[in-house]
């Protein structure tokens, strides 16, 4: 799915250089469930952004399903993201003035789905995450767990084959956390791929592979590769 080659990403700020991410080579295969762990500021979000086609590296190439992402024009990159990638954010990033239903409709609208189909699919997705009776609620009228479930419905709207998640359980109560993680389990079981940044050891343990980052470097990446017991 991903092949990263000689990647460096450096931030310069007042003569000071911060190596946010550096890797000679990194592969992520189809169907892998990858947990990215590491202390704060170690480059986890930087890695996730580069995988999502939103941050171009200073050197090297990011190959995504056989295409060099950053050699594509912006619109093509946006299209790949829209069609193949779903994002999950720590703070959900729901649009505050839209209802749950409308929030789920956004990626469908961006994909050019017709209005009536948008509605039908969004309702079905919300029912799938157990919020069939909350479609007309605004995010502010929902609990954090419910908000994250709306966000999950939105993530799944365009039926992505990859999920990029940045601390998806960071703000959740145990029940909601479990709901998110079991949905991720299902997602991987269908042969799809997840790259999840997490501080949560329990969540990381459910992944099939762990990438440890420190100061922008991968530490013992292969060592932590585990095969999940069936």
């Amino acid at each position: 799915m991903f092949h990263l080659q000689d990647i460096t990403k450096v931030y310069r700020r007042r003569q000071e250089e911060v190596v946010a991410f550096k890797a000679a080579s990194l592969d992520i295969g189809l169907g892998e469930y990858v947990a990215v762990v590491g202390p704060s500021g170690s480059g986890k979000t930087t890695l996730l952004s580069m995988l999502g086609g939103m941050l171009s590296p200073d050197t090297g190439k990011v190959w995504f399903e056989g295409e060099s992402l950053y050699d594509l024009p912006v619109t093509a990159r946006t299209q790949r993201r829209r069609e193949r990638i779903g994002f999950v954010f720590q703070t959900f990033n729901l649009v505050p003035y839209l209802t749950a239903l409308e929030n789920v409709q956004v990626p469908l609208f961006l994909h050019g789905v017709s209005k009536s189909e948008q509605r039908d699919r969004a309702v079905a997705l919300l029912e799938q995450v157990g919020l069939g009776n909350r479609v007309e609620h605004k995010p502010s009228e929902l609990s954090t767990g419910q908000q994250q479930r709306v966000a999950l419905a939105r993530t799944l709207a365009n039926n992505p084959r990859l999920i990029l998640a940045d601390e998806p359980t960071g703000n959740l109560d145990p029940d909601s956390r479990e709901a998110v993680l079991s949905m991720f389990d299902n997602f991987v079981r269908e042969g799809r791929t997840i790259v999840m940044v997490t501080h949560d050891p329990g969540a990381a343990a459910r992944a099939s592979r762990r990438l440890c980052l420190n100061d922008g470097m991968l530490v013992m990446p292969e060592e932590s590769r585990t095969t999940k017991a069936a």
Partner: protein, 406 residues
């Protein structure tokens, strides 16, 4: 869900954020629409006044004012009728027609009317033939009008309303204005009694919306006889063949008739022409304000909206919104406030023009669709240009800001 709903939902949630710039556009368009409407109709009115009197020169008694002439209330001051013959004999270049008038107050059906004595054109023909002068055939130098000289007059008495002269009018005939006909219920063929004498109604003039509607026209000599005024008139209207003729005629007439006051109609309306010019310049000034203040206000509103919505824009981009869609989203916000401001401003401006136009300038204002469309168009062009830069900066936002924690 589409771009429109996305924008609408945000604006509906917090309309106050866009209020200031909407109001700025609204007030700018209001001022523009109001001033332009009043100016246009005021100019039209001046044009109509000029046209209704032709390229005219007025010969008035020395101490008469133009207001006296307009209010048709000249009974106190008079000129000798012989001036008409003097002008006729002088055969001045550019003179096309003469129309001496004597106005007196009279009563018809117990209502006040103005009895106006006029001289039919046939009498000039007769006089000219008698004096062996070729009537009104003297072209002025550089006359732009092809057919300068004797006209074939329309014989219908109703033409008095538009031509201001009449071909035939007998001593015992009268022509009545539309208002007079209405309140006296007089019809052509009936008789109207004036100063104890019965005159036959020759025609009813079509409504003109001027003082002429409440006039009764009769033969000049009849009016002179009935009122014992003697051989006098209140005013002599001199119709030049075109606008240029009027200017050249004034000094010549003044020289010819030293005891009279000679003015052109453009002098009559010069004050209003001046005001109109001032208002035209004012509307340019308002347009300038609209461009600068309205544009700056829209630009700042949209930029602060972009700043405020950074994370949301990042999220939309993560979900697959292209940069051009993001640009369009912010332009649509600008257009929404532009349209609301422009349409609201047009309606308000029109109301202001209708109320104030009648009050201040004394003109009746009606909506001018072209002008309104132009104002709305101008407001939209301004909002678009003002919003273009911030909207494009939104498209260049780093999508990674969607990962930022709040």
């Amino acid at each position: 869900m589409n771009l429109k709903t996305l924008v609408w939902r945000e604006l509906a949630e917090r309309p106050s954020a866009m209020l200031t710039s909407t109001l700025t556009i609204l007030l700018g368009v209001t001022a523009l629409v109001a001033i332009r409407h009043v100016t246009v109709f005021s100019e039209r009115e001046v044009g109509q006044q000029l046209q209704s009197l032709g390229a005219n020169v007025l010969v008035l008694p020395k101490d008469a004012t133009l207001q006296d002439y307009y209010s048709a209330d000249l009974t106190e001051r008079t000129l000798p009728e012989s001036h008409v013959a003097s002008i006729l004999l002088e055969n001045l270049p550019g003179v096309e027609r003469l129309s001496p008038k004597l106005c007196v107050s009279a009563k018809v059906a117990n209502r006040d009317v103005t009895l106006t004595g006029i001289l039919p054109q046939s009498e000039f023909q007769a006089k000219a033939a008698w004096q062996s002068v070729s009537l009104f055939s003297n072209k002025h130098e550089g006359c732009k009008k092809a057919a300068c000289g004797p006209k074939t007059y329309d014989a219908a008495p109703e033409s008095l309303a538009s031509e201001r002269t009449i071909d035939q009018l007998k001593d015992n005939e009268a022509i009545i204005g539309a208002d007079v006909a209405e309140f006296s219920a007089l019809k052509p063929g009936q008789t109207v009694e004036l100063f104890g004498e019965k005159l036959q109604v020759l025609a009813v003039l079509p409504r003109t919306g001027t003082v002429d509607d409440s006039r009764v026209f009769a033969h000049l000599h009849t009016v002179q006889r009935l009122t014992n005024a003697g051989e006098v008139v209140n005013a002599i209207e001199v119709m030049g063949c075109c606008e240029d003729a009027a200017g050249g005629l004034v000094p010549k007439l003044a020289e010819l008739l030293p005891d009279a006051k000679v003015v052109t109609i453009s002098q009559v309306v010069s004050t209003q022409v001046g005001i109109n010019r001032l208002m035209s310049q004012m509307s340019l000034f308002v347009l300038g304000i609209l461009v600068i203040v309205g544009g700056a206000s829209v630009a700042s509103t949209i930029s602060s909206n972009v700043r405020e919505r950074r994370r949301e824009v990042g999220t939309l981009m993560a979900l697959g919104a292209t940069p051009s869609l993001v640009t369009r989203m912010f332009l649509l916000k600008a257009w929404t406030l532009g349209i609301v401001g422009a349409v609201g401003g047009s309606v308000l401006g029109l109301i202001v023009a209708m109320v104030l136009g009648a009050h201040w300038a004394g003109v009746t204002v009606k909506p001018l669709p072209g002008l309104i469309a132009l104002s709305i168009g101008a407001a939209l062009v301004i909002t678009t240009l003002a919003a273009l830069w911030p909207a494009r900066s939104a498209a260049k936002l780093d999508p990674c800001c969607c990962f930022q924690e709040v």
